[in-house]
Protein backbone atom coordinates (compact mmCIF):
# COMPACT_ATOMS: atom_id res chain seq x y z
CA UNK A 1 0.00 0.00 0.00
CA UNK A 2 1.35 3.40 -0.93
CA UNK A 3 1.97 5.39 2.23
CA UNK A 4 -0.36 8.36 2.43
CA UNK A 5 -0.94 11.02 5.01
CA UNK A 6 -2.49 8.53 7.44
CA UNK A 7 0.60 6.34 7.54
CA UNK A 8 2.82 9.25 8.47
CA UNK A 9 0.34 10.43 11.08
CA UNK A 10 0.23 7.00 12.70
CA UNK A 11 4.04 6.91 12.88
CA UNK A 12 3.99 10.39 14.35
CA UNK A 13 1.37 9.44 16.96
CA UNK A 14 3.30 6.34 18.00
CA UNK A 15 6.55 8.29 18.27
CA UNK A 16 4.79 10.93 20.38
CA UNK A 17 3.49 8.20 22.68
CA UNK A 18 6.95 6.73 23.06
CA UNK A 19 8.23 10.14 24.12
CA UNK A 20 5.36 10.57 26.54
CA UNK A 21 6.07 7.17 28.04
CA UNK A 22 9.69 8.17 28.51
CA UNK A 23 8.69 11.33 30.34
CA UNK A 24 6.33 9.39 32.61
CA UNK A 25 8.43 6.32 33.32
CA UNK A 26 12.05 7.36 33.31
CA UNK A 27 13.58 8.95 36.37
CA UNK A 28 16.72 10.51 34.97
CA UNK A 29 16.38 14.18 34.10
CA UNK A 30 18.53 13.87 31.00
CA UNK A 31 16.58 10.94 29.62
CA UNK A 32 13.34 12.81 30.32
CA UNK A 33 14.77 15.65 28.29
CA UNK A 34 15.58 13.31 25.41
CA UNK A 35 12.01 11.98 25.53
CA UNK A 36 10.79 15.56 25.23
CA UNK A 37 12.89 15.91 22.10
CA UNK A 38 11.27 12.75 20.77
CA UNK A 39 7.83 14.29 21.25
CA UNK A 40 8.87 17.49 19.49
CA UNK A 41 10.18 15.42 16.59
CA UNK A 42 6.91 13.54 16.35
CA UNK A 43 5.06 16.84 16.04
CA UNK A 44 7.54 17.91 13.37
CA UNK A 45 6.86 14.75 11.39
CA UNK A 46 3.11 15.37 11.51
CA UNK A 47 3.58 18.97 10.36
CA UNK A 48 5.82 17.99 7.45
CA UNK A 49 3.38 15.29 6.37
CA UNK A 50 0.45 17.72 6.47
CA UNK A 51 2.50 20.26 4.56
CA UNK A 52 3.37 17.74 1.86
CA UNK A 53 -0.13 16.42 1.30
CA UNK A 54 -1.88 19.79 1.53
CA UNK A 55 0.51 21.40 -0.98
CA UNK A 56 1.27 24.14 1.52
CA UNK A 57 4.77 25.10 2.61
CA UNK A 58 3.70 26.93 5.78
CA UNK A 59 3.92 23.72 7.78
CA UNK A 60 7.57 23.33 6.89
CA UNK A 61 8.32 26.89 7.97
CA UNK A 62 6.64 26.02 11.27
CA UNK A 63 8.91 22.99 11.61
CA UNK A 64 11.90 25.22 10.96
CA UNK A 65 10.84 27.45 13.84
CA UNK A 66 10.16 24.48 16.09
CA UNK A 67 13.67 23.15 15.48
CA UNK A 68 15.13 26.55 16.33
CA UNK A 69 13.11 26.87 19.53
CA UNK A 70 13.99 23.30 20.47
CA UNK A 71 17.69 24.06 20.08
CA UNK A 72 17.38 27.11 22.35
CA UNK A 73 15.28 25.15 24.80
CA UNK A 74 17.83 22.32 24.99
CA UNK A 75 20.64 24.77 25.63
CA UNK A 76 18.80 26.53 28.46
CA UNK A 77 17.42 23.30 29.92
CA UNK A 78 20.78 21.58 30.00
CA UNK A 79 22.32 24.64 31.62
CA UNK A 80 19.59 24.46 34.26
CA UNK A 81 20.30 20.76 34.81
CA UNK A 82 24.01 21.46 35.20
CA UNK A 83 23.29 24.26 37.68
CA UNK A 84 20.96 21.97 39.59
CA UNK A 85 23.53 19.21 39.62
CA UNK A 86 26.12 21.58 40.95
CA UNK A 87 23.86 22.47 43.88
CA UNK A 88 22.26 19.11 44.65
CA UNK A 89 24.69 16.53 43.23
CA UNK A 90 21.92 14.63 41.51
CA UNK A 91 20.02 14.49 38.23
CA UNK A 92 17.42 12.07 39.47
CA UNK A 93 13.87 13.36 39.75
CA UNK A 94 13.08 11.40 42.89
CA UNK A 95 15.78 13.30 44.76
CA UNK A 96 14.39 16.65 43.65
CA UNK A 97 11.21 16.87 45.65
CA UNK A 98 11.63 20.05 47.67
CA UNK A 99 8.77 21.67 45.73
CA UNK A 100 6.46 18.75 46.36
CA UNK A 101 3.42 19.57 48.48
Amino acid sequence: MTPGLNHYLVVSALLFCLGLFGVLARRNLLVIYMSLELMLNAANLALVAFSRFNANLNGQVMVFFIITVAAAEVAVGLALIVALYRKRRTAHVEDLTSLRF
Binding site: L24, A25, N28, L38, N44, V48, R52, Q60, I67, A72
Partner: protein
Protein backbone atom coordinates in the same frame (compact mmCIF):
# COMPACT_ATOMS: atom_id res chain seq x y z
CA UNK B 1 7.27 0.72 -5.10
CA UNK B 2 10.81 1.19 -3.84
CA UNK B 3 9.73 4.35 -2.05
CA UNK B 4 6.98 2.47 -0.24
CA UNK B 5 9.52 -0.03 1.02
CA UNK B 6 11.73 2.84 2.12
CA UNK B 7 8.84 4.38 4.03
CA UNK B 8 8.21 1.19 5.95
CA UNK B 9 11.91 0.72 6.61
CA UNK B 10 12.40 4.26 7.92
CA UNK B 11 9.16 4.24 9.92
CA UNK B 12 10.08 0.93 11.53
CA UNK B 13 13.59 2.16 12.28
CA UNK B 14 12.25 5.39 13.78
CA UNK B 15 9.88 3.58 16.11
CA UNK B 16 12.36 0.84 17.02
CA UNK B 17 15.17 3.25 17.83
CA UNK B 18 12.74 5.56 19.63
CA UNK B 19 11.66 2.66 21.79
CA UNK B 20 15.25 1.68 22.50
CA UNK B 21 16.01 5.29 23.41
CA UNK B 22 13.16 5.52 25.89
CA UNK B 23 12.95 2.02 27.34
CA UNK B 24 16.03 0.04 26.49
CA UNK B 25 15.72 -3.30 28.30
CA UNK B 26 19.46 -3.95 28.22
CA UNK B 27 21.00 -0.69 29.29
CA UNK B 28 19.72 2.28 31.24
CA UNK B 29 22.73 4.45 30.71
CA UNK B 30 21.90 7.93 29.38
CA UNK B 31 24.69 7.59 26.81
CA UNK B 32 22.93 4.62 25.20
CA UNK B 33 19.70 6.59 25.14
CA UNK B 34 21.45 9.52 23.50
CA UNK B 35 22.97 7.27 20.83
CA UNK B 36 19.59 5.73 20.01
CA UNK B 37 18.09 9.22 19.92
CA UNK B 38 20.66 10.11 17.24
CA UNK B 39 19.59 7.06 15.22
CA UNK B 40 15.92 8.00 15.65
CA UNK B 41 16.62 11.48 14.39
CA UNK B 42 18.53 10.21 11.37
CA UNK B 43 15.68 7.86 10.47
CA UNK B 44 13.27 10.77 10.85
CA UNK B 45 15.41 12.73 8.42
CA UNK B 46 14.94 9.81 6.03
CA UNK B 47 11.17 10.16 6.41
CA UNK B 48 11.50 13.90 5.75
CA UNK B 49 13.33 13.13 2.51
CA UNK B 50 10.57 10.73 1.51
CA UNK B 51 8.17 13.65 2.11
CA UNK B 52 10.35 15.77 -0.20
CA UNK B 53 11.29 18.13 2.64
CA UNK B 54 14.95 18.17 1.66
CA UNK B 55 15.90 21.36 3.43
CA UNK B 56 14.34 20.24 6.70
CA UNK B 57 16.03 16.86 6.46
CA UNK B 58 19.39 18.58 6.21
CA UNK B 59 18.53 20.93 9.07
CA UNK B 60 17.33 18.00 11.15
CA UNK B 61 20.65 16.22 10.81
CA UNK B 62 22.75 19.35 11.23
CA UNK B 63 20.92 20.83 14.20
CA UNK B 64 19.57 17.79 16.02
CA UNK B 65 22.01 15.00 15.31
CA UNK B 66 24.86 17.47 15.27
CA UNK B 67 24.48 20.35 17.68
CA UNK B 68 21.80 19.23 20.12
CA UNK B 69 23.09 15.71 20.62
CA UNK B 70 26.65 16.90 21.10
CA UNK B 71 25.32 19.19 23.81
CA UNK B 72 23.48 16.27 25.40
CA UNK B 73 26.52 14.01 25.35
CA UNK B 74 28.68 16.80 26.69
CA UNK B 75 26.40 17.31 29.67
CA UNK B 76 26.06 13.55 30.27
CA UNK B 77 29.82 13.20 30.37
CA UNK B 78 30.09 16.27 32.59
CA UNK B 79 27.62 15.01 35.17
CA UNK B 80 29.08 11.51 35.46
CA UNK B 81 25.82 9.70 36.22
CA UNK B 82 27.26 6.28 36.95
CA UNK B 83 25.35 5.71 40.18
CA UNK B 84 22.02 6.57 38.60
CA UNK B 85 22.03 3.43 36.50
CA UNK B 86 21.71 1.12 39.47
CA UNK B 87 18.30 2.33 40.58
CA UNK B 88 15.41 0.08 39.70
CA UNK B 89 12.46 1.26 37.68
CA UNK B 90 9.33 0.76 39.70
CA UNK B 91 6.78 -1.52 38.08
CA UNK B 92 3.93 0.68 39.34
CA UNK B 93 5.33 3.68 37.51
CA UNK B 94 5.83 1.69 34.34
CA UNK B 95 2.37 0.15 34.54
CA UNK B 96 0.47 3.38 35.06
CA UNK B 97 2.62 5.18 32.50
CA UNK B 98 2.05 2.47 29.91
CA UNK B 99 -1.68 2.51 30.60
CA UNK B 100 -1.99 6.27 30.15
CA UNK B 101 0.17 6.24 27.03
CA UNK B 102 -1.78 3.33 25.52
CA UNK B 103 -5.02 5.24 26.07
CA UNK B 104 -3.63 8.34 24.34
CA UNK B 105 -2.23 6.23 21.51
CA UNK B 106 -5.63 4.63 21.06
CA UNK B 107 -7.35 8.01 20.88
CA UNK B 108 -4.82 9.45 18.41
CA UNK B 109 -4.80 6.44 16.10
CA UNK B 110 -8.59 6.15 16.14
CA UNK B 111 -8.80 9.82 15.22
CA UNK B 112 -6.38 9.31 12.33
CA UNK B 113 -8.19 6.22 11.06
CA UNK B 114 -11.63 7.79 11.37
CA UNK B 115 -10.60 10.92 9.45
CA UNK B 116 -11.71 11.14 5.86
CA UNK B 117 -8.84 10.75 3.42
CA UNK B 118 -7.64 13.97 1.92
CA UNK B 119 -8.35 14.70 -1.71
CA UNK B 120 -4.92 14.21 -3.24
CA UNK B 121 -4.00 17.49 -4.85
CA UNK B 122 -0.61 18.58 -6.10
CA UNK B 123 2.17 17.55 -3.75
CA UNK B 124 4.57 20.16 -2.47
CA UNK B 125 8.37 19.95 -2.50
CA UNK B 126 10.30 21.60 0.32
CA UNK B 127 13.36 22.76 -1.57
CA UNK B 128 15.57 25.45 -0.12
CA UNK B 129 14.48 28.10 -2.57
CA UNK B 130 10.70 28.24 -1.99
CA UNK B 131 11.20 27.74 1.72
CA UNK B 132 13.75 30.54 1.90
CA UNK B 133 11.48 32.82 -0.10
CA UNK B 134 8.64 32.18 2.31
CA UNK B 135 10.94 32.64 5.29
CA UNK B 136 12.20 36.01 4.13
CA UNK B 137 8.89 37.47 2.95
CA UNK B 138 5.86 36.23 4.80
CA UNK B 139 7.68 35.02 7.90
CA UNK B 140 10.30 37.72 8.17
CA UNK B 141 9.16 39.02 11.55
CA UNK B 142 9.01 35.60 13.25
CA UNK B 143 12.39 34.85 11.74
CA UNK B 144 13.91 37.95 13.32
CA UNK B 145 12.18 37.25 16.62
CA UNK B 146 13.70 33.79 16.49
CA UNK B 147 17.19 35.24 16.20
CA UNK B 148 16.44 37.39 19.23
CA UNK B 149 15.26 34.26 21.07
CA UNK B 150 18.55 32.53 20.30
CA UNK B 151 20.44 35.54 21.62
CA UNK B 152 18.39 35.58 24.81
CA UNK B 153 18.92 31.84 25.20
CA UNK B 154 22.65 32.27 24.78
CA UNK B 155 22.84 35.00 27.41
CA UNK B 156 20.67 32.95 29.75
CA UNK B 157 22.89 29.91 29.38
CA UNK B 158 26.00 31.93 30.10
CA UNK B 159 24.35 33.42 33.17
CA UNK B 160 23.14 30.05 34.41
CA UNK B 161 26.36 28.18 33.98
CA UNK B 162 28.63 30.85 35.35
CA UNK B 163 30.18 30.12 38.71
CA UNK B 164 28.63 32.26 41.37
CA UNK B 165 30.97 34.93 42.62
CA UNK B 166 30.62 35.66 46.28
Amino acid sequence: MFQDLLFYAFAGMTLLFGFLCVANPLSRSPVTSAMFLVLTIVSLAGLFILLHAFFLAAIQILVYAGAVMVLFLFVIMLLDLKEEERRKMRTFTIGTGALAVAAIAGILIRAVVAAKPLATGPLVTGDTKPLGKLLFTQYLLPFEVMSLLLLVGMIGVILLSKKEVK
